[in-house]
Symmetry: C2
Subunit: 101 residues, 2 copies
DNA sequence: TAGGTATTTAGGTAATTACCTAAATTTGTG
DNA sequence: CACAAATTTAGGTAATTACCTAAATACCTA
């Protein structure tokens, strides 16, 4: 766990919001963008970009940064890339801050 | 707790190191820089700057940033400003990441 | 009050980050 | 294969952050 990369990937308001939205996609994305696979797969780049009101390339890069830091998990399915949270890493991060930092 | 400011104040390697050094000053600073007051007061700016091998103004600014985010607590004592960790806030941060983020 | 030490503030440059648009790539489909 | 949709990559500019030195301030003590 590269703590500095993880923290850096969280040090931006939009990225932090994305993380929160993905905690409960059903509460934050329109119904027609969700499916039964949403819990397993997460949400695709363009839907997240729309929610963030930012350009797709910017958000694509944010998501890539966050998955490099292992905060998000990417799944390519056809032409779509879905991103979901890495709950395990977030719990590890909390424990690390609690005990190590 | 302004989570974004807290995370930003941790998103730099030197600032992260300072936080760790202050967790146990006796393990990280030379004996002659420590006293019986160290646990209550923390360590002064110039000693931290020396340890970080960076200029005093830079470190002074880092420490100010961190205490604005409430991660550190500053105590002015004569001509010295001592900084110690805010353990409560760090625990709150860990819980916030665990439960809210 | 004078002079010394610790710190902070001001002001600067270099590096990094935050975005964007345009172009390239990947994948599905007729 | 050609074309369309989703994404990524490239390449750019503006804003922010990371440092530094010099100057100003705060506080001590003779």
């Amino acid at each position: 766990m590269e703590i500095l990369d993880i923290i850096k990937s969280l040090s931006n308001e939009t990225r932090l919001n994305i993380l929160k939205w993905l905690k409960d996609p059903y509460a934050h994305f329109p119904e027609e963008e969700l499916s039964e696979d949403t819990p397993q797969l997460g949400v695709c780049v363009s839907d997240i970009a729309k929610k963030a009101e930012m350009s797709i390339p910017t958000v694509s890069d944010y998501l890539k940064t966050m998955s490099s830091a292992k905060i998000l998990i990417a799944t390519r399915r056809g032409q779509w890339t879905y991103y979901k949270r890495n709950e395990q890493l977030l719990q590890d991060l909390a424990m690390h801050i609690k005990d190590v930092l």
